[in-house]
Symmetry: C2
Subunit: 351 residues, 2 copies
């Protein structure tokens, strides 16, 4: 690794389900639409040179001044056990990309590789921000008209009440930059808004959030019924609930699509109808699978660590790159640190 | 109340969002399709006589020998706080119907009223079965081709590991009768099937379930991704997760329908397409909103307590009544008691 290497985003080009070529196509798409002023520093593209260089060449990016190639001879597979992979695969694209961030040679990382490995190695190498005990995974979900940030979508299955407050701060800062909302409204996910419902931990988190509410924009409890209504811009929950909810909703969406297709094939008349209404189905699919929001940040570390879906195609990867560049440009980490410090001081005063 | 009153199902005809008339229409529908041998005992219809009698008269059920009217002068509203309502509204249709079960004058109750009040008063009046610490709410969810029982969908947000085992037994016995599956397969919902994922409590529950696995049909961990795939007939989870997942999926379904309608209206061609494909949309809606499964049982009490959705229409209420009659006919409670006793003995032997 060259001493004077200095970049903006470190892109782990390996480890996605669709391979290096798709990552490089995504990079090409992103570079086509991102204005130069957002690219003050080159993107460090990390991967096995024997695969990466031909892929870059084939899309005309091999000698592009906006990128630098960093060789990594190994890859972490999707099915590898995270902790074992972290120990054994120091020469993998993911770990080398994380090292670039750790050493200050890059400002953020985007990977579509193994989530557990990225969260584990991210925490070990980049370290949590001062004042944040447990980082959290945020996911952007589509709503009726707008988008919402759900946090935590799977990092910390068993948070304590104060972690919910931190999640609120992390999610709100991400929403500000990515959804472009000045004062995001925050809701705490529960299972009934009556007094005492949802269990002790949620009640404690609710009280803490209320106590710092004006500082962070806390609106109160929200129920699953309103998850996709867009009444708030940030929904806070524990990592178990967030993950179960998101995956179940993905499962439902798949089954609905499957079932609708089956129903639409049942008669020639329906088939004609389906053909005429094709654009509507595509519009719906695009809305609920928004590639422009193709990455989930692992928030609360000393630099942004962003995760794209393992199955990301070029459009999702391009979307993920744009989010990463946005987050670098607006210095998400500095804003989070400021707000976390403020909230921790408020909580300390209350005792 | 007459001393010699003796019935099968106690139907709380009040408290639903659509009122007494809709409940009575549901009753009429159910009576039309249920064979007489399933109706050994009359259905005790509980409600305010001034509203109930005219409603029954208008559908020709007033003097039907298959029903008896039990007067209740009060109703518990949907928005009332459960514990207050239970204390103050002893003369409500829900509490009178529960008393009929408690006194042995009815064998089960179906209500579409206030869920919290029904679970609270059900637990107080009917009492948990011997060996069951915490009753659980089960919900039937549609899948790709078949249906699945999710338990717990909201009764116990903070179960201990043994409660998960009990939920498995409760859910499996309900699935046997209602889905007609002889040996239901059981899965435990988690957020990643790797070793150690999902938190300590889920791991402990997983170990306990494995230890009694052959006795109850435990298949192992399942992820949200597979919730609607129908790989298992019973999905076990805690009441917080189950409730959040179900409500979020309802929210997603609503938003998808809303969005699809909007897309289909965007051009005249799409509108024609939508018209031709109308049957497919109806087919899908019916599949994902199955009225035949219009009730969720609160399982683990000494008699079946069934909850229909607050917004149930006549078809959902008729479906709920049929499930209730089925559960009475097959003596769900006796089967649960037998299996719970067996499983508790197995667990006790293991120490």
């Amino acid at each position: 690794m060259s001493e004077e290497l200095s970049g903006g985003l470190a892109l782990d080009a390996m480890g996605g389900d669709l391979g290096v070529a798709e990552s490089v196509e995504g990079l090409k798409l992103a570079l086509t639409s991102v204005p130069d002023e957002k690219l003050k520093d080159p993107i460090l593209v990390v991967g096995r040179e024997t695969e990466l260089l031909p892929a870059l060449e084939s899309v005309g990016l091999k000698d592009d001044p906006r990128i630098r190639v960093v060789h990594a001879e190994d890859v972490i597979g999707m099915d590898e056990k995270p902790m074992q992979a972290i120990k054994k695969k120091g020469k993998s694209s993911m770990l080398i990309a994380l090292n670039l961030v750790k050493e200050g040679q890059a400002k953020a990382i985007l990977s579509c590789g193994n989530t557990g490995a990225l969260m584990g190695a991210g925490t070990i190498k980049i370290r949590p921000l001062d004042g944040v005990e447990r980082p959290a995974l945020a996911t952007i979900i589509p709503g009726k008209e707008k988008f919402t940030v759900l946090i935590d979508s799977g990092a910390n299955p068993d948070p304590n009440p104060i972690h919910f407050v931190h999640n609120a701060v992390l999610g709100a800062n991400f929403a500000k930059i990515v959804l472009g909302v000045e004062n995001p409204r925050i809701g705490l996910l529960t299972i009934g808004t009556e007094e005492g419902k949802g269990g002790e931990k949620i009640q404690q988190a609710h009280e803490l959030l209320k106590s710092v509410g004006t500082a962070i924009g806390y609106e109160g409890l929200v129920e699953g019924y309103h998850l996709f209504d867009g009444d708030v811009e940030v929904i806070v929950c524990d990592g178990f609930v967030g993950n179960a909810v998101l995956k179940s909703c993905e499962s439902l969406f798949k089954v609905i699509s499957y079932y609708l297709k089956k129903e639409l094939k049942k008669s020639p008349v329906r088939q004609v109808g389906a053909l005429l209404a094709k654009g509507a189905f595509k519009g719906m699919k695009d809305h609920f699978n928004p590639d422009e929001y193709g990455s989930a940040p692992f928030l609360g570390l000393k630099a942004p660590v962003l995760k794209a879906h393992g199955g990301s195609d070029r459009y999702a990867i391009a979307g993920g790159i744009k989010i990463a560049l946005n987050v670098i440009e607006h210095d998400l980490t500095a804003h989070i640190l400021e707000d976390i410090t403020k909230v921790n001081e408020l909580l300390a005063k209350q005792g």
